[in-house]
């Protein structure tokens, strides 16, 4: 008994009173509850579907689809599998999203800068654009472009055309499609050389500017190189491109490259709508740069365009990037409104026809949700990397 007294240190709390033990215990309980709930959901769904005679599993992805799709970036016909329809839909979604992100960014930046213009008319026009476009539901705008504008184009037989090579009618915008002939490799080669040359030139001029302060017009020379060299190579190689001109064949134009009205309407509506939000983000970014910065760069003798490019925009980007990311995510997710006008995106093709023909709703919806989640997370990831690059470096 005495020995025990000697050994005993000031007794810690009992384990169920120890805050650390308690917190670990409750975290384990919480996690197991989450897992149990998830497992029960999946298990319940599977056993209920089985007892009701509904097929489950992903075997259907290998079966042949048996339906056609109007627009496919990879070869597709009705003999190919349901899995293939997934990729056709996915690529169509990615296409319209990428096109939308590019144009929305360009329009958004232009309008955002115009909104701050000292020119009264330009500023008010930008303001009107933003307020009108961002306050009308996107679906209505898609319907407007699709039903009110593009549907009213003439039929293929009364098509509008520009010089017998560009045709616009209610089936789409038809453009000549180039096919590379022998010798076109030279043009690619010239383009590669020009790009490498421009990068090298930029490094050299940086270094020279740091050492001597002399400025070299890298941008102009770079553009000259990248455009000029391939053009020279093209003519040297004897114009190795053949253009396939679209022409009226029966009901529709055949040959050439076509943008269908469904794609055009969705693209225009998504771009204009998202651009109105981006414009406000750009404006807030520019206004966040304190006036002292502009005044200081003017005092150093920098002209207005350099002030904007070298002083204001880089600092504004820090404010712009995070909300811009959410606009990009919105655009990708909004592209699923495609199904309202018959553009064959992932939701229309895979969650529409494929789901209906196979009846495997749970699998198809799960796959589709996983895809949108992945696309969104990837965009977030890239934008975060970019954000880290432009963020303030604390030294």
């Amino acid at each position: 008994m005495k020995n025990q007294n000697i050994d005993s240190r000031p007794a810690g709390p009992k384990p169920w009173y120890d805050p650390q033990v308690r917190s670990i215990f409750f975290q384990i309980v919480a996690i197991s509850l989450v897992f149990w709930a998830g497992w029960t959901l999946v298990d319940n769904t599977l056993s209920n579907m089985e007892s009701r005679g509904i097929s489950t599993g992903f075997g259907f992805l290998g079966e042949s689809a048996g339906f056609g799709i109007i627009m496919h970036l990879i070869p597709f016909d009705a003999t190919m599998s349901y899995g293939r329809t997934f990729f056709v839909g996915l690529l169509n979604t990615l296409l319209v999203s990428a096109m939308g992100i590019v144009t929305a960014t360009i329009i958004g930046f232009v309008v955002g800068v115009a909104r701050l213009s000292t020119n009264w008319l330009v500023a008010k026009l930008a303001l009107t654009y933003i307020e009108v476009i961002r306050n009308i539901p996107l679906l209505l705008q898609i319907f407007f472009w699709y039903f009110a504008v593009l549907r009213n184009l003439p039929s293929p037989r009364q098509t509008m055309d520009v010089g017998d090579w560009l045709f616009l009618n209610n089936r789409g915008l038809y453009m000549p499609e180039p096919f590379a002939q022998d010798g076109f490799g030279l043009v690619y080669g010239a383009l590669t050389v020009a790009i490498i040359g421009t990068v090298a030139l930029r490094r050299w001029s940086r270094k020279r500017q740091l050492e001597t302060g002399e400025i070299f017009p890298v941008f102009k020379v770079g553009v000259g190189l990248i455009v000029g060299l391939p053009v020279i190579a093209y003519f040297l190689a004897g114009q190795p491109l053949q253009w396939e001109i679209p022409e009226l064949q029966g009901f529709n134009f055949g040959g050439g490259f076509v943008i269908i009205p469904e794609l055009a309407a969705l693209w225009v509506a998504l771009s204009l709508y998202t651009a109105s939000f981006i414009a406000e983000i750009v404006r807030s970014g520019i206004l966040s740069v304190s006036k002292g910065q502009t005044e200081a760069s003017k005092a150093l003798g920098l002209p207005a365009n350099l002030t904007l490019r070298l002083v204001v925009i880089p600092q504004a980007m820090r404010v712009i990037i995070p909300p811009l990311t959410s606009q990009y995510l919105n655009l990708v997710k909004n592209s699923s409104l495609a199904t309202a006008i018959g553009y064959p995106d992932l939701v229309a093709v895979f969650m529409g026809t494929t789901l209906n023909q196979t009846g495997q709703a749970v699998e198809v919806v799960a796959i589709t949700m996983a895809v949108y989640l992945t696309i969104s997370l990837l965009i977030s990831l890239f934008m975060n990397i970019y954000n880290r690059a432009v963020a303030i470096k604390e030294r």
Binding site: S47, F67, G68, S155, N170, Q249, A340, Q357
Partner: protein, 341 residues
């Protein structure tokens, strides 16, 4: 302690949520009786089959099929509530129990019958797929349609038949797929597509919706078999039998010359077939879990198959469809029902 208590309560609530979905074992007939009405899935609007009229009452041959089931169960053809569904939504609505039966001109196919957990309870309209084209295109037969842009409704067997037909003929086409039949008509009317394809019965209805119905015509070819009929969930044989036999009773009633106008007189008939049909003899209703006079209620409330056909899609309606395949087997058609005995 408060925290642990609320966690425990949360866990109990979660449990009940997750187990509730398993425990709903009541039969469809019981749950329909308990609700006091039948919940029936129909189209979002297709003249002759299921469409609300100008007073908001649903009418059509598919709607009458629902009403006949309601008449059999409740003796009241009005004890139905309708759920409008697009082609894409219909099977999920039935699988999930949102509706008790689906009567939405749905084609009976092997895949649907075997892999969706559904049962087709018969055929209330024998149809086939056809093409609607603008007259000014100068097309007279389907084999001239190579390269055409074709409007289709999403999630239908038409999508598959179309691809099959063009593939077999070695022709190509551009399918433009919309969610509702309204949109396909718009696409066709505005000239976005050259051809509209659907079941022939629908083509007549959709053509009548055009601003100038005479500017379009239906091509002579029928490229597929489309037996349309009511659908129920798999695993409830009693309910499956009820829907199946309600339709059979209607067809048998026409065959036996029993109609809504003479059904009261027919109660006194000494023809044993009619007696069994109307429940004046035997216990046919009890075998199905229905009142014995369910046959009388159907014919009195909705009419026999021929009445239902003529009222909704027959020659005197805007659709003006001849009986054709849908005539009784005794009159050159294939409408044939097993005997009530």
């Amino acid at each position: 302690m408060k925290n642990t208590k609320s966690i425990a309560v949360g866990a109990v609530m979660l449990c009940s949520v997750f187990t509730a979905s398993v425990a709903s074992a009541a039969t469809t007939l019981e749950s329909v009786k308990e609700k006091g009405h039948l919940q029936c899935g129909v189209t979002t609007g297709l003249p002759g089959f299921s469409q609300p009229d100008d007073k908001g009452n649903w009418t059509g041959i598919d709607v009458d099929t629902c009403r006949a089931v309601a008449a059999a169960v409740f003796g009241d053809p009005k004890a139905v509530q309708f759920t409008p569904l697009t082609a894409k939504e219909r099977f999920t609505a039935l699988q999930s129990g949102e509706i008790d039966m689906l009567s939405r001109n749905t084609t009976w196919t092997l895949t649907r019958d075997a892999s969706l957990g559904l049962n087709f309870a018969g055929v209330n309209y024998y149809d086939g797929q056809g093409f609607l084209v603008k007259k000014d295109l100068g097309v007279d037969e389907a084999s001239q349609l190579s390269g055409a842009t074709i409007c289709i409704q999403a999630g239908t067997t038409t999508e598959l038949n179309l691809a099959d037909y063009f593939r077999a003929k070695g022709m190509d086409f551009k399918p433009l797929v919309f969610d509702t039949s309204e949109q396909t008509v718009q696409g066709f009317a505005s000239g976005r597509c050259d051809v509209l394809t659907s079941d022939r019965s629908q083509l007549a209805a959709l053509r009548s919706k055009l601003a100038e119905p005479d500017s379009a015509k239906i091509l002579p070819e029928t490229i597929s078999k489309e037996p349309l009929g009511p659908v129920v969930r798999q695993g409830d044989d009693q309910w499956f039998n009820i829907v199946k036999w309600v339709l059979s009773v209607q067809i048998n009633a026409e065959e036996l010359g029993v109609s809504s106008s003479n059904v009261d007189d027919m109660l006194k008939s000494d023809n044993p077939n009619i007696q069994r049909l109307l429940g004046t003899d035997g216990d046919m209703g009890a075998k199905l879990g229905l009142p014995d006079d369910f046959g009388y209620a159907i014919v009195k409330g909705v009419g026999n198959y021929g009445e239902m056909y003529n009222r909704n899609v027959g020659p005197d309606t805007p659709l003006g469809l001849d009986r054709g395949l849908n005539a009784l087997w005794t009159e050159g058609g294939i409408m044939y029902a097993p005997p009530v005995r």
